[in-house]
Amino acid sequence: MRSFCVPRRAIALFAVLAVFGTVSVAASAADTYKIGIDLPTSGADASDGVPTKNGALLAIDDANAKGLPGGITLQAEPLDDAVQGVHDPAQGAQNLKTFAADPSVVGVVGPFNSNVARAEIPVSNDAGLALVSPSNTNDGLTIGEGAKALRTSHPDEITYFRVCTRDQNQGAAGADLAKSLGFKKAYVVDDNETYGKGLADVFDKDFRAGGGTILGHDHLTKNQQDFKALLTKIKATNPDVVYFGGVTATGGGLLRRQMGDAGMSNVPYIGGDGISDTEFLKDAGALANNSYYTVAAPDASKLPSAAAFNKEYKAKFGSDPGAYSASAYAAALVIINAIKEAAANGGVTRANVLKYVAATKGLPTPIGAVGFDKNGDTTNPVISEYKIVGGKPQFLKQISVKT
């Protein structure tokens, strides 16, 4: 039997040709860069995550349609950080690691929830990958020693940015709203998560500072379904209003619904952007009315700059934009703009994109001019206030908080 012997030189020649072949093929294709999107898009959190994701997708599609310099095309890479219907920090961190490992991902839009951001910031810091959130409001993500501790690999390099303002402002707006409605005694409940507890603590402090009385501050346990005992306790203190720090998926809606059973159906309810979704309306049932909430974003239907966005969103997705859709569009626009700047100045690399994201100033977006300060916070903090009337949210007013 004649053994088939391939001369070593031939193998080497084939290998070299193969490498050059692929390299030349890659170089000849127009450059495609990916923008990662990490949001909770399944389960109870989907009513938050999906409209937000749609906003980002719209921005990327628009940019591709208009065309980018150098024939660059952008590709959206959405990943879900919800596990069993609720946003999960571990899943978020995993998603960021997936993005970090993919060299064509040059920026990420997300996450939606602050506790997921806590898990993702170290990963983004380590990879030098820009992470722009449309909706995280917890103060400790950008301010203070806690924020620095999150930047594990490079403590002085900011890779996390947000186009929305912080809970320091949202809590203050909530307290201001409660005071303006004439409420003097409030009972505070939070879901014991990063966002919920942080927001509730700010409300607690600011409501007291404004002259109100906090009758009590309680925390829910995970997956709690029965609030009757807690509500009986709250009812006995006779509050003017109940403030909830947290999201619908962790009990915001069910707590409100069971207020009716506990005999507190005429006590109003104030929450943050965590209950600004359609899921809250469903969970709370008839008691969704007479609830108020704040959102760390301008109301897209009220801004002239957002009119075009609203029309486009409705045409493409067949429904009204969510509370953070326009913010997600803006977040994606920040990255897209940075990619354009990078392409013109030294090439599209993660480091370069990061540099131009950080340098964003006065970028026109559907939520107004976006820019970041040295901590990665927005230079245009805006809070909108809503009341639910007849099962629908009604815009009350907008506060611009300058800190």
């Binding site: 389960g43 109870a44 219907g85 346990t221 997956n223 005992a229 807690l230 009986t232 306790k233 469903k282």
Partner: protein, 303 residues
Amino acid sequence: MELFFQQLVNGLSLGGIYALIALGYTMVYGIIELINFAHGDVYTLGSFFTLAILTMLGIQNVLHGFPLAAALVGIIAASMLFCGIVGVLIERFAYRPLRNAPRLAPLITAIGVSFILENIMQLWQGPSPIPVPTFIPDPTFNLGGVTIEIKQVLVVAMAIVMMIALQLFVYRTKIGKAMRATAQDRDAAQLMGIDINTTIAVTFLIGSALAGAAGFVSANYYGTTWFFNGFNAGLKAFTAAVLGGIGNLAGAMLGGFVIGLVEAFGAQYISDQWTNVMVFSLLVLVLIFRPSGLLGESLPTKV
């Protein structure tokens, strides 16, 4: 003082639901020494079934008088039957083949069945809480300053009625005798001519039917249902069964009410976020000082 009684009512209602589920756990454990982790999910199935029936019947408003009574009895019976059948099927296909396998195998299978049921329910009705149409009137009545909802009375009444019925069944009927015999010594029971397969199937039927009743009551009590309810409720109910003495019917009831009360009073006098810690610490303490539970008998080791 009325706050104390108000929380007492809350605790008893919550405890009633736990007690109903715990009865099923304890029955199954008593007879085949299996902790049926899927039991909590059968309870959730009961509430889902109730939701489906109420939606199908198109009951929009609150009923009164005779239609209310008829609907109540009818839907509870249907829910119990449905869950009973599901329980029997689970036993037949998941547990019976493993009856003589080492103890770990059916335990893992039970966990597997639990996940299967949870995911089926998640696919069926979606992952968020779903509102249940109301048909029981809301009005509450006042008893010396304490507001009691009719729904709460229903829960506690159901639990007590079911337990009495169960006691009568287990101690006064022939099948009940067969169940007790099988629980005591399976091989001897077989030698005495008892059909083990049927007896165990009946045990699962009754245990799961009770879970179905609990599901119905809870769907009405909270006005919502959620696919993940069974996980928490099952865990607490299992704790209740162990607390009261696993294998002991009265123990399961007692354990259920004790846990309900601990949760309610804990939320009032300590803090809502410590309720889980309190419940499970209580369990650990009781087991340290009374390993066989509050009402369990310490069985002598046979030589």
